[in-house]
Structure formats: structure tokens, C-alpha cells
């Protein structure tokens, strides 16, 4: 074996070892909440979904009932706010791509996507929470909508952009005005792309913690309306994972299981749907 | 033929389950130019890539038979990396590596194989560029990026790059297909000159080019050799007529088979 093949072999081993190392790390990252969390949920049974968190140091972890409600409502609200804005922005940017506003809007969207998510939270805090003098579910939803808005814009724009020009030409030649072409021909053509955008928005809203840290409050023990403090699953994990009590740690793992499961499922679905776009 | 530069015996090549080359047998005499012609998709590029084992880049490719360069069985007696020292390759689209300078492009082969360093490497690069007829044009800008050259110059750079390892055989895959007529004829002249010391196998779709540069050749149709001879004899039936006739025959056979079903 000469120097050249020795160098080759060593480099190969180095590459393989570090790749396997990081893959193992990622694998442990993803399976930890699945395994530990599932164990907690099985142990706790149905009450895990229907009760409130127990006190510190008690036997059972309690449940995540109100947090589940809070999560569902907050995410739905944030998507309801962000998706229409993102959708129409995406349409505009694609349709009027030569205008200055389109370029500006696109840069604005990109800028927003790069803003650290905690800053989104303190922004909403400054303009909404301080004004209303309280943390609330709505405030949380507003923060989350800022986080998901840029992704929606990009998704919608892309789904329109990839439609071959011939379809647009065909619609015009049939006498359809522009707005009908866009909304009744092009958008339905790539419904899949639009839906993927919707799913991605849900996924992002579901997984974010930092934006809601100071806007949604930390209400794990009750539901206080849209106007009152609330909580989400990531927020629950954030709060309870740092405590020294074993039952609270278990609570965090249980919530992590749901977070992980939903995140994995949505990721796989989105990936699968993105692959099949064909015209 | 005694001591051919390249000898191919009973070569059958498959991509997965599909066979693309059928029972190829040919010998290429030393220090000559050998042309391989055929319509698109007939397998001539595949054949060329089988000679230097480049076909192994495709994981689904399977090679059966024997390929010898200078008497060495390149599939059984050599590791794949060493074949480059026996056969260099030039491609249809000039492809100097864009992130490297002119010098570094030519020096890439020798550096990979640890052939030379420093002054000696400079000499090798110079020699290769001179052989490719490019030295005078680039000697003062060796460190410039290779992409700063014109198309014709880039192709000559690729020739120099292949020659830097001093291979006895040079494989050329339609080297002038993407060049204008002026540059194309420069390359053809280069080919004639190089063939005095190097064996050149050139794939081309242009029978006139084959007549201009080659001594001997083979016509491939649908993966099989249909004619193999000295260039003058090869074209006793004009090339295009031959291809037309073969295409029609093929069609008749295919239709007959379909009717049978």
C-alpha cells in the first residue's frame, strides 16, 4: 500500500466515522422524546390528556389538558391570520414580479424569516401586550403568525411560479381576465403546493417556543379565553424541563412525545407531497 | 494485428437489464487515429467509456469481456485509478474545472498521481500545453482561471490536461461538436500531429471528419459493429445511406415482431 492509498483510506474512515457520529446524535435526538415520552403517557394513561399538571414532587405528572387546548387554538388562530396575508402576498409577488413593491415585499419577507424568533416575541410584546396590559392567547397567535408568514409567502409564490406558462396562455386565449386566471385556474392547478404551504405553516407554528415566551403567558391550569393567558406544548416543555422535580420532568417528556410525533409526521407528509409535484 | 494499442474482445455491456453493447471486437493499431461512428444512441460513447473504465461511474453498468490497453487488461490487471495513465479523455463539451487556474487544470492529473512537484511539474505542464498547441497563447497567464479562455482554447486545455499524464492512448468523445469550424479544424490538425506519438480513438458523428483525420474506423449501430475497416474501405457505401438502410431494416424487423404478437 502506498502513501496515496493510505491517505485515501484514512480520509474515508474519518468521513465515515464523523458521519455516523452525527447521524447517531440526530437519531438519539429524535427517538428520545418518542421513547421516554411514550413511556410516560402509557404510565399515566388517558388522564394525561384530560387533567392539569400535578404539584411539584407529586407521584403522577398530571396532564396537559389546557395546554392542548391552548396549542390548538393558538396555532389555528395564527395560521388563520398569517395564511391569507402570506397567500395574497405570494400571489402578488409572483404576478407582478417586475414591480418595485414585489421586490420590496420579497425582501421584507426574507428579512422577517431571518429575524431571531425571540425578537418577534418581544416585538409583539412591545406593541400589543403592553398596550393591552396582559399576556394573552391572541398575543401568542400574533407572534406565531409573524414566524410563519415568510414561509407561507415563499411556498405560495413557488407553487405558482412552477406552473408552466402555457397554461396561463391558454387561459388568456379563452378570454379569462387576469384575476380569474390566477384564482380559478392557476391556484387550483397547484393546490398541492398551496396545501403544503398550509401544512408547513402549521408545523412551524406548532414547533416554535421563543415567540410565545412573553406573549402568551404560562397558563397551564386553566383556560382563560382568547383574551387571557394561555400556553402551548413547547412552552410547557420549556417550563417543566428545567425543574428538578421528577414528575414534572415526566410531564415535559410526555408533552415532548406529542411534539415529536406531530413534527415527524408533518415533516414526512410535507416531504412526500413536495416530491410529487408534476404538470 | 500485432501489438495493438487497444484490443477489445467479446465486449458486452449492460445497464441493469438492458444490453447496450453486443459482442464488440476490435483492435486499434498503435500511433494511429481510429474513428468510431454511428447515429445517436448507438452506444459509441458508451464504448469509449468502457475503454477507460469511466463507465463504472454508473452503478448499474455491467461489463463483460476483455479490454486491453498496451497489452494490459484494464479491468483485471489494474486498479481503476491507474487506467488514466494509459488512456486520457477529452469530452464533447470543453470542461476545464472552473475553480482552477490554467496551470492547476493541467497539473491536476500529475498531482493526483504524485508524479511530480515543483520545477518538474512546471516542465510537465509546459510540455503538455506545447503538445496541445496552447503554450504560446497562455504561457504568460498560467495562473488565470481556466474559464477565461475561449471555447476552442478551453478544449485544447482539456487536451493538455489529458496529455499531462503522458498516456499512450487518447480517447476523444466528439471533441469538435461544440466548436466553430475554425477551432474545429485546429483541433483536427492537432489530432493528426499527436497521432504520431499517441494512439487516438475518436468518436464522431461526422463521416467527413473521420475521412480527414482517421486511418481506420468502425461503424456502430444499435450497440453492434456493422462495419470495421480502413477508412477508405469503410465508406464504400456512403455513411448516411448505410445508416438509413440499417434504420429501415430495423424498423421492418420491429414491426414484424409486433405483428407476430
Amino acid at each position: 500500500m502506498n502513501l496515496r492509498s493510505i491517505k485515501n483510506e484514512i480520509t474515508l474512515m474519518l468521513i465515515a466515522l464523523s458521519a455516523v457520529f452525527i447521524l447517531l446524535a440526530i437519531f438519539s435526538l429524535i427517538s428520545a422524546p418518542l421513547i421516554f415520552g411514550l413511556r410516560v403517557i402509557i404510565e399515566a394513561g388517558l388522564p394525561f390528556f384530560t387533567t392539569t399538571p400535578a404539584g411539584p414532587g407529586e407521584e403522577s405528572p398530571g396532564g396537559i389538558y389546557y395546554t392542548l387546548i391552548g396549542s390548538v387554538l393558538m396555532i389555528s388562530l395564527s395560521v388563520a391570520i398569517a395564511f391569507p396575508i402570506g397567500f395574497f402576498s405570494g400571489v402578488y409577488i409572483n404576478e407582478y414580479s417586475q414591480t418595485k413593491l414585489a421586490t420590496l415585499a420579497e425582501s421584507a419577507s426574507h428579512f422577517l424569516s431571518e429575524v431571531p424568533s425571540i425578537i418577534l416575541g418581544i416585538f409583539i410584546y412591545a406593541i400589543y401586550v403592553l398596550a393591552t396590559k396582559k399576556t394573552s392567547l391572541v398575543a401568542g397567535a400574533l407572534s406565531l403568525s409573524l414566524a410563519i408568514l415568510p414561509y407561507t409567502v415563499v411556498q405560495v409564490r413557488e407553487s405558482l411560479r412552477v406552473i408552466p406558462f402555457t397554461y396561463r396562455e391558454a387561459a388568456y386565449s379563452l378570454g379569462l381576465p387576469r384575476w380569474k386566471t390566477v384564482f380559478f385556474v392557476l391556484v387550483p392547478m397547484n393546490m398541492r403546493g398551496i396545501l403544503v404551504g398550509l401544512l408547513s405553516a402549521f408545523l412551524r407554528a406548532f414547533s416554535e417556543t421563543a415567540p410565545v415566551l412573553f406573549t402568551a403567558g404560562a397558563a397551564f391550569y386553566g383556560f382563560y379565553g382568547l383574551d387571557g393567558p394561555s400556553s402551548t406544548l413547547p412552552l410547557l416543555v420549556w417550563n417543566f424541563a428545567r425543574t428538578p422535580y421528577e414528575n414534572w420532568q415526566k410531564l415535559a417528556w410526555g408533552a415532548s412525545f406529542i411534539l415529536a410525533l406531530v413534527s415527524i409526521s408533518l415533516s414526512l407528509i410535507i416531504r412526500k407531497a413536495t416530491k410529487e409535484v408534476r404538470f | 494485428m500485432e501489438n495493438p494499442a487497444v484490443r477489445i474482445q467479446n465486449l458486452n455491456v449492460y445497464y441493469g437489464n438492458e444490453q447496450v453493447l453486443f459482442n464488440i471486437n476490435l483492435s486499434v493499431p498503435r500511433n494511429s487515429v481510429y474513428a468510431i461512428l454511428g447515429p445517436s444512441g448507438c452506444g459509441k460513447s458508451t464504448l469509449l467509456r468502457t475503454i477507460n473504465r469511466l463507465i463504472e461511474l454508473r452503478p448499474e453498468a455491467r461489463v463483460e469481456g476483455k479490454v486491453e490497453i498496451m497489452g494490459i487488461d484494464v479491468y483485471r490487471e489494474l486498479p481503476r485509478e491507474q487506467v488514466a495513465r494509459l488512456a486520457g479523455m477529452v469530452f464533447q463539451m470543453p470542461n476545464p474545472l472552473p475553480h482552477l487556474s490554467i496551470y492547476d487544470n493541467v497539473a491536476l492529473g500529475p498531482r493526483l498521481h504524485g508524479v511530480a512537484k515543483g520545477r518538474k511539474l512546471d516542465e510537465i505542464v509546459r510540455e503538455a500545453l506545447e503538445q496541445a498547441g496552447l503554450w504560446e497563447e497562455v504561457k504568460n497567464k498560467l495562473k488565470k482561471p481556466a474559464t477565461s479562455l475561449s471555447g476552442g482554447q478551453q478544449q485544447r486545455l482539456c487536451i493538455a490536461r489529458a496529455l499531462a499524464l503522458r498516456p499512450p492512448v487518447l480517447l476523444m468523445d466528439e471533441p469538435t461538436a461544440n466548436l466553430d469550424p475554425v477551432n474545429a479544424s485546429k483541433i483536427e490538425e492537432l489530432i493528426r500531429k499527436l497521432s504520431r506519438e499517441t494512439t487516438i480513438i475518436i468518436v464522431t458523428h461526422d463521416p467527413e471528419q473521420a475521412k480527414r483525420v482517421a486511418n481506420r474506423g468502425a461503424i456502430i449501430f444499435k450497440g453492434k459493429i456493422v462495419k470495421e475497416n480502413f477508412i477508405d474501405t469503410l465508406f464504400t457505401v456512403p455513411y448516411h445511406e448505410l445508416i438509413q438502410k440499417l434504420t429501415m431494416e430495423e424498423r421492418i424487423i420491429v414491426e414484424a415482431l409486433q405483428e407476430k404478437r
Partner: protein, 297 residues
């Protein structure tokens, strides 16, 4: 509905987007003013964070957590670079096709995984490991939460993204170049190294983007960094970043006169740094696309 009406109606969301951005920057600026008028440049020279009832005693210095943010981010991209380059070559050149799909799915899932779970995993698995390592290195009485821990956790977070970027650029290098390199007798590994050099702007670009991300990450970092306010000269000791500073203190900030403003200013600085690296990263990405296409630069 005529053309102009449509256009006007459609442009409203676009204008909204733009306004949000502008408003955000303005708010950060506006809210930073109080602490700047109170402390002036001392906010860069003080190395303490003292929220006190008596406004005269409030002192805020953002340099220690800022250095912490940069330190963590640099470690994170160093590790991430190593991992994502290896992973790219591993996937593209070493493993068989079937295994490739499974690994790509794994990476894809990791890229969208909630960051708080990264933090929780870091807290459970990485912190004890770093503690063991630190003890071996002679540290006594450390929890294992530190700059190094945060760097490792963040590198695991960045690696899926940068791997995806590097891999896609790697895979899009034209076959012609691959054939040219192979025809010169390069082995698989040698060929991979040459291609990596060819796409190096893309690699740097993905790392710069990762740096921007790392600097802005909150939950994963705060859970494992130990949240001690200090200038992080020793990477194995607990420290803090701008994001962990905000995460830990913002809740109570309005009770004090200047802390809210100080945190807003810290956020502004964070935004500027993160945007800068993202911008540079993006510019480089365009350069690398040009190289792969063989265009003149």
C-alpha cells in the same frame, strides 16, 4: 373587477409585510433609547447586569452575553462544518442508494424538529457528557452546562440545514466535470475533495447562514448554557448569550426602569449581527451557483 382594482387589493398584503419589518426595526430603536441615554457607551463597557429597584443603581452591560453568543455560534458552525461536509460525502459517495433515502429522511425530519426538544435532549444527554469530559479535564464542581455544550447542541441543529444545502449543490455539479475528474484517475475520495473545493463558496455560504441562525437561537441554547452572567473566557463554564439573557430576564424587565430598554437594545444588536451574516451568506450562495454553472464570475 378590473385590472387596477385587483392590483391594488393584492398589493395590500405586500405593503403590510413591508410595514411589519419597518415597524419592528423602529420599535427596537425606540425602546433602546432610554437605556442609551441613561448609560451611553457604558452599555458596552460594563461587565455586569444589575437590575435594581433604585434606578440609580441599575447597570447593564451587553458585551459578556454578546461574546457568549458569538463564541457559541463559532463553535457551532465549526462542528457543523465538519459534520455536514462528512455527511454530504458519506451520503453521496459512500453509502448505497437505499440507505441514502432513509438518511435523507432523518435529516429532513431533524431540520424541522422543534428547537425546544433540541434543548431538552441537550439537557438530558449532552450536559452530563460534557460534565464527564470537564471532570476529566480537571474541572471541579461543574454542571456540564456551558459554552461547549451549547455549541455542540447548536451544531446538531445546524448540521441538517447545512448538509441539505451542501448536498444539493454537490449533487448539481455537472456530470461533465465529474467525468473529467474521474478520467484523470481520481479515486472516489479524491474526486469528492475536488468537488468540495469547487463548491467551497456554497459551503461557506451555508455556514454563514448557519451562523446567523445560531446567533438567534433561544430555547435550545438557554436550556444548556447554564445562564451565568460572565465573560466566557473558559468554554467549559456556564455562561450566557444575548438570547438566553433576554429569555431569562425579559419577563420581569418592566418592573425596573431601564432593564426593558437594555434588553431591547440587546435584541437590536442581535438583529443587526444575525442579519449581517445572513446577508453575506446569501450573496455567497449566488456566487457558488455561478461557479457550478461554469459562468464567469
Amino acid at each position: 373587477m378590473n385590472r387596477d382594482m385587483l392590483r391594488i387589493m393584492l398589493s395590500i398584503p405586500g405593503v403590510l409585510l413591508l410595514s411589519i419589518d419597518i415597524l419592528l426595526i423602529l420599535v427596537l430603536f425606540k425602546e433602546s433609547i432610554p437605556v442609551l441615554t441613561y448609560e451611553g457607551l457604558r452599555i458596552f463597557t460594563e461587565f455586569q447586569w444589575n437590575a435594581a429597584e433604585d434606578p440609580a443603581k441599575e447597570v447593564y452591560g451587553i458585551i459578556p452575553p454578546l461574546v457568549g453568543s458569538l463564541y457559541v455560534a463559532i463553535l457551532a458552525i465549526m462542528f457543523a462544518a465538519f459534520f455536514s461536509i462528512s455527511l454530504t460525502v458519506f451520503i453521496q459517495e459512500i453509502i448505497p442508494y437505499r440507505a441514502r433515502l432513509a438518511i435523507e429522511e432523518l435529516i429532513n425530519v431533524a431540520a424541522s424538529f422543534p428547537t425546544v426538544l433540541y434543548g431538552f435532549w441537550g439537557l438530558t444527554l449532552i450536559v452530563p457528557l460534557v460534565r464527564q469530559l470537564a471532570v476529566k479535564l480537571g474541572y471541579v464542581n461543574v454542571t456540564g452546562a456551558s459554552i461547549v455544550t451549547a455549541g455542540l447542541v447548536l451544531s446538531t441543529m445546524i448540521a441538517p440545514y447545512s448538509t441539505a444545502i451542501i448536498k444539493s449543490v454537490y449533487a448539481s455539479v455537472p456530470l461533465s466535470y465529474i467525468e473529467a475528474i474521474a478520467s484523470l484517475g481520481a479515486t472516489k475520495i479524491e474526486r469528492a475533495i475536488i468537488v468540495l473545493r469547487m463548491i467551497s463558496p456554497a459551503i461557506v455560504s451555508s455556514l454563514l447562514l448557519g451562523f446567523g441562525r445560531a446567533v438567534g437561537e433561544t430555547t435550545a441554547v438557554t436550556l444548556v448554557i447554564g445562564n451565568a452572567y460572565r465573560l466566557p473566557l473558559d468554554p467549559f463554564l456556564p455562561a450566557s448569550t444575548v438570547t438566553s439573557l433576554i429569555a431569562n430576564n425579559f419577563g420581569m424587565a418592566t418592573y425596573y426602569k431601564y432593564e426593558y430598554s437594555a434588553l431591547m437594545f440587546a435584541a437590536l444588536v442581535l438583529l443587526i449581527i444575525s442579519s449581517f451574516f445572513s446577508y453575506v451568506g446569501l450573496r455567497l450562495a449566488n456566487v457558488s451557483v455561478k461557479i457550478v454553472r461554469g459562468e464567469q464570475l
